[in-house]
Amino acid sequence: MWRVGKVTALHDETATARTITLEVPYWPGHVGGQHVDVRLTAANGYSAVRSYSIASAPNLEGRLEITVERLATGEVSPYLTQELSIGDRLELRGPIGGWFVWRPHQSEPIQLIAGGSGIVPLMAMIRSRVSSGSTTPFRLLYSVREPAAVFYRDELQALSDHDSVVSVTYAYTRDAPKDWPRPPGRIDAALIANTTWQSNLGSTCYVCGPTSFVESVTGLLVAGGHSPNNIRTERFGPTGDRR
């Protein structure tokens, strides 16, 4: 079932990523971690569908935000990040997904691990934690190319300053700030051991990123003693259209 959402705000997160706020009449509400499908249809009838994670916390107002990273060779993301205007309408299907989600009644410690724009559904979980008043401890390990590529930087900073049980660790893969304690590089076993919940705490781990990132991180988590049953993953990548 396709719904129509109206663009009510646009906000650039980085030089290549934009958050789009939509108001969707009769939106049934969502859970942190879910996504929507967006369908664009050209005048000649050609249409393209892409999935985007919801970034915003659940709410009752029929409002949702998605953050879209522009892919240089993309068919949909350049339009959404460069041409879309306030007042435009988008076709949406969702909310989608009931497994890669965090629900406020969960009380176990939560470990979030993001690769690049994989931060988006994890941010919705963090925002859901805040809006629900949950006191569950959250840790976020955020692998990102360079400081300028970080999404939601100020909000994450404010959250970790304000609430000692939401901790954020950045793992820069290409360029790190001056005097950063760790040289740029991918997440490795030592970083997992030093910055994530120990495996005996019964935490649930949510891992979102490109396929190679998810495979690498889940391998490290399992090697570190985490049960595969406590690891939830979502992979993204170029999909294209098949119909």
């Binding site: 079932m1 049934p28 509400g29 859970v31 996504h35 929507v36 499908d37 569908v49 999935s51 299907r93 969702g94 909310p95 989608i96 997904g97 009931g98 497994w99 890669f100 490109p210 396929t211 190679s212 495979e215 939830r232 993953t233 979502e234 992979r235 993204f236 990548g237 999909t239 294209g240 098949r242 119909r243």
Partner: protein, 97 residues
Amino acid sequence: MSSNGDDYLDGNAVAGEMTEIFVMDVTAAEGQCAHCATIKHFAEAHVYVKCPGVVARCAVCGEILLRLAYVHQQVFIDVRGLTYLSLDRSLLQEYGR
């Protein structure tokens, strides 16, 4: 037969188009692989979409669990790789469907 390279996604990636077939969320559904008997959520399946349909493979043994093929206005669903698929009816209410 196992997955080669990183040219796959997972069950979350096709959950939207699966709503054209199933009225309930399939990502949280548990399915048993008919080949190796592993029971996992559909979200955990390795899903190949760079083809004229969808192929979902078992994350453990790599055998095919489910295939969708689109031919004109028909969709063909081949589920012989699944012994069963178990959906949670309580989720119907949660998502307001």
